[in-house]
């Protein structure tokens, strides 16, 4: 009763129920690259840094941080923070969490942290991280890594984990829901604003939308453009949208004779009417691309929109001796909203310039196998820049090692620039990345059709909900009437 009284005094009341499109698969913050897991686990664990919706890094468990030199980062930690079980948060926690993710190769995020040489504590509230080579994107990656208590084991701990986050973990019904309860002793005053948060996993949009309209849930993510009108017309429902940190990108198989020729790739790009895709198919809920990476990320440089010029496309195909070209366009079934519709539109557009497109809509696992085997010309995919930093995207897709089993991209110039762009100095990074983007924009190893827009629908009872560009649904500062 006393605690309830305290909660009331702070204005903390009610329960928020969210409906997320993607099922969560783990409670271990180091063992996923899932957007829904990042969202849910952010409530239970605090990372060292948060990233704001305008791509600025903000203090969470680290009060400040800076690069001492190209291979050393220093973090000063927040004092007086404790885990849900009462134990204090100290530098030991950071040392444990970072060494665990580096050393346990089974963890999905392990590969990112391989560059860490050592993690040293300096008293209870400061940590120095040294790296084997420059690791400028470390702060960005740390926004996605919740800090664990040093006593955390493996299996058993993650059945009922404790963190320092604004909510305590209560229960997880696999594939269905996660229940969380407010952490009354959270370090940030006035947070959280509700007593309870339940996250339900509802992959089908129409079901998700129906639950929202019926008032069963209060917020849904990944709304499709075609659903917006219906939702806007529903009393008590608000629709929010924001430019997402996601670029759609369909990559070519660069080892294939047909699309190896840059003239062919250019022709494909010229034949696609991106305006039609954005305006007619996505009803304006997308933005034209002006660079391989979306605005807001370090290095983004406006290189101007890709033109639509079927005449020139035909001419280029003729020059390349490919006037009777057939392309295999592989899709991962049901992964991206409206992908089949867009792929059919693209097939029709390419048909206009004499390119026949075979759409192959395959099971996700099969599609990935085909990609590894190189059995495709064009592969439908998107990239959400989750750590708010393009280093991962560049490293994965445009280094020889990263792209070996994907697109077979290999360009020593780009490889060099990616390595040089890993330093902590943002000015250097900006300049190197701008240069990479220029090369890619010119070579067109991928088709960049549009930047996505993230659409959410919420109950008008919610206050202070922020439509995030990274698709996270964060509820600790959200209240409910």
């Amino acid at each position: 009763m006393v605690r309830l009284g305290v909660a009331r005094a702070q204005g903390r009341r009610g329960e928020i129920i969210a409906g997320l499109s993607e099922r969560m698969l783990t409670l271990d913050p180091a063992n996923h690259y899932s957007i829904s897991a990042t969202s849910v686990l952010r409530h239970v664990y605090d990372p060292l840094l948060d990233v704001t919706n305008d791509d600025k890094f903000a203090p969470a468990l680290a009060e400040s941080w800076r690069a001492l030199n190209n291979t050393t980062w220093r973090f000063t930690l927040r004092k007086g923070v404790s885990f849900h079980d009462g134990s204090p948060f100290t530098a030991d926690s950071v040392v444990f969490t970072l060494k665990r993710v580096r050393d346990n190769g089974k963890l999905i995020k392990s590969f990112v942290y391989q560059d860490i040489e050592d993690v040293q504590k300096d008293g209870d509230h400061a940590v120095t991280v040294t790296t084997k080579r420059p690791f400028g994107s470390l702060p960005a990656h740390l926004t996605m890594l919740g800090m664990l208590p040093p006593s955390a084991g493996e299996e058993a701990f993650f059945q009922k984990p404790v963190g320092t986050g604004p909510f305590r973990f209560v229960s997880w019904t696999h594939g269905d829901r996660v229940e969380l309860a407010a952490n009354a002793r959270y370090w940030k005053p006035g947070v959280p604003r509700v007593e309870k948060v339940t996250v339900r996993f509802i992959p089908e949009l129409s079901t998700r939308a129906a639950a929202l309209r019926a008032g069963e849930i209060h917020v849904i993510d990944r709304v499709w453009p075609d659903m917006v009108q219906t939702l806007k017309a529903t009393p008590g429902v608000k629709v929010l949208d924001t430019p997402a940190l996601e670029a759609q990108r369909w990559h070519f198989q660069l080892a294939r004779e047909t699309v190896k020729d840059p003239r062919v790739r250019k022709a494909v790009s010229l034949a696609i009417n991106r305006d039609v895709i954005i305006k007619d198919l996505l009803l304006g809920y997308a933005r034209p691309v002006v660079s391989p990476i979306p605005p807001g990320l370090i290095g983004h440089t406006n290189l101007g929109q890709k033109p639509y010029d079927p005449e020139k496309a035909r001419q280029l195909l003729k020059e390349a001796g490919q006037s009777k070209l057939t392309l295999d366009f592989v899709l991962m079934k049901d992964l991206y909203p409206k992908q089949l519709e867009i792929a059919q539109a693209v097939a029709a557009m390419l048909g206009e310039v004499g390119v026949k497109v075979n759409i192959r809509n395959l099971e996700i696992a099969t599609a990935r196998e085909q990609r590894t085997a190189g059995n495709y010309d064009l592969f439908y995919s998107g990239w959400a820049h989750m750590p708010h930093d393009p280093d991962w995207y560049f490293g994965q897709w445009f280094t020889k090692a990263g792209a070996e089993k994907l697109t077979r991209f290999s360009d020593p110039r780009v490889e060099q620039l990616i390595a040089e762009g890993r330093v902590p100095d943002p000015k250097v990074r900006q300049q190197k990345y701008a240069e990479i983007e220029r090369i890619l924009w010119d070579e067109e190893p991928e088709i960049w059709p549009y930047y996505s827009v993230a659409i959410y629908a919420i109950s008008d009872k919610l206050s202070n909900f922020e439509a995030r560009r990274d698709y996270y649904v964060l509820l600790h500062e959200v209240g409910i009437a």
Partner: protein, 277 residues
């Protein structure tokens, strides 16, 4: 014809099925527009049939394509696949059934056990597995569908053969020195035809459903080629704001299944000698 009149349901079924097949067959003449070419400015127009202002009788789909045109061309695909599958299943099933019935013994045992194994697999599961391996060509689809259907014929024909084999006229033919093959083709096969026809027509309904199911799951005909199941799948996402996308192919599938079932039921009664007067 007079007997047909006694089974009006068979006639109705036959008419429905006949009309749909005819419409699909002459699709190029009937279709008001290209079924594949998108018209982006004309997406999701409601059917004129229900008072919509658009010039499209059944409306347009999510890429602005005429749904009537897609329905007709999709029908060609769905019906052709189903028909081929029924014919292939019947050919295999009847042959195997005749062999099992006539030869008997170990051959019979072996064939019937294979049939049992086949029946033990859920058809959709089997289809998904096969299509995942060999791909979604028309040949593969027909084979998958036929694979799910041959057992029914094999068992029925085998049972008929076992009965007919004992009959006097078969004995007589054998005494006169007719070869096995001659007896099978001229004396036994014609007498098993009635049940085969009945199974064939009701199985046609199952095949249309199955093909639609596979296309719905994305394992059938690949877009932009229309097929009823694929149209249904694409329309599902638009149920709340453009219901006609899924409803139109859904009605078409229901009609064909209804027609084929009515026809099958009627044929069974019509061809059953015990019901003859």
């Amino acid at each position: 014809m007079s007997r047909l009149r006694r089974y009006p349901m068979a006639a109705v079924g036959g008419l429905i099925l006949g009309a749909v097949i005819l419409a699909a067959a002459v699709a190029p003449l009937l279709a008001p527009a290209d079924p594949i070419k998108p018209s982006f400015g004309k997406r999701l127009q409601p059917p004129r049939l229900l008072g919509g202002a658009s010039p499209y009788l059944l409306g347009t789909d999510n890429l602005g394509r005429d749904i009537l045109a897609r329905l007709l061309y999709g029908g060609r695909v769905s019906l052709a696949l189903a028909t081929s599958a029924v014919v292939l299943a019947a050919a295999v099933g009847v042959t195997v059934g005749l062999v099992a019935g006539v030869l008997g013994g170990r051959v019979d045992d072996a064939i019937m056990r294979v049939a049992d194994v086949q029946l033990a697999f859920p058809v959709i599961m089997l289809a998904i597995a096969i299509v995942a391996v060999v791909g979604t060509s028309a040949g593969a689809l027909v084979s998958v569908l036929a694979l799910s259907g041959w057992v029914l014929y094999a068992r029925t024909v085998r049972a008929s053969v076992l009965t007919i084999r004992q009959l006097d006229y078969v004995e007589a033919a054998r005494t006169l020195g007719a070869s096995d093959l001659r007896i099978i083709l001229l004396h036994i096969l014609p007498n098993t035809l009635a049940p085969i026809l009945v199974i064939g027509s009701s199985q046609f309904a199952t095949m249309v459903l199955l093909e639609s199911g596979l296309s719905f799951l994305g394992l059938g005909v690949q877009p932009p080629q229309p097929s009823w199941g694929a149209m249904l799948a694409e329309g599902r996402d638009y149920l709340s704001n453009a219901w006609w996308l899924a409803t139109v192919p859904g009605v078409a599938i229901s009609l064909v299944v209804l027609g084929a079932n009515l026809l099958g039921d009627g044929l069974r009664d019509l061809l059953d000698p015990r019901l003859r007067q």
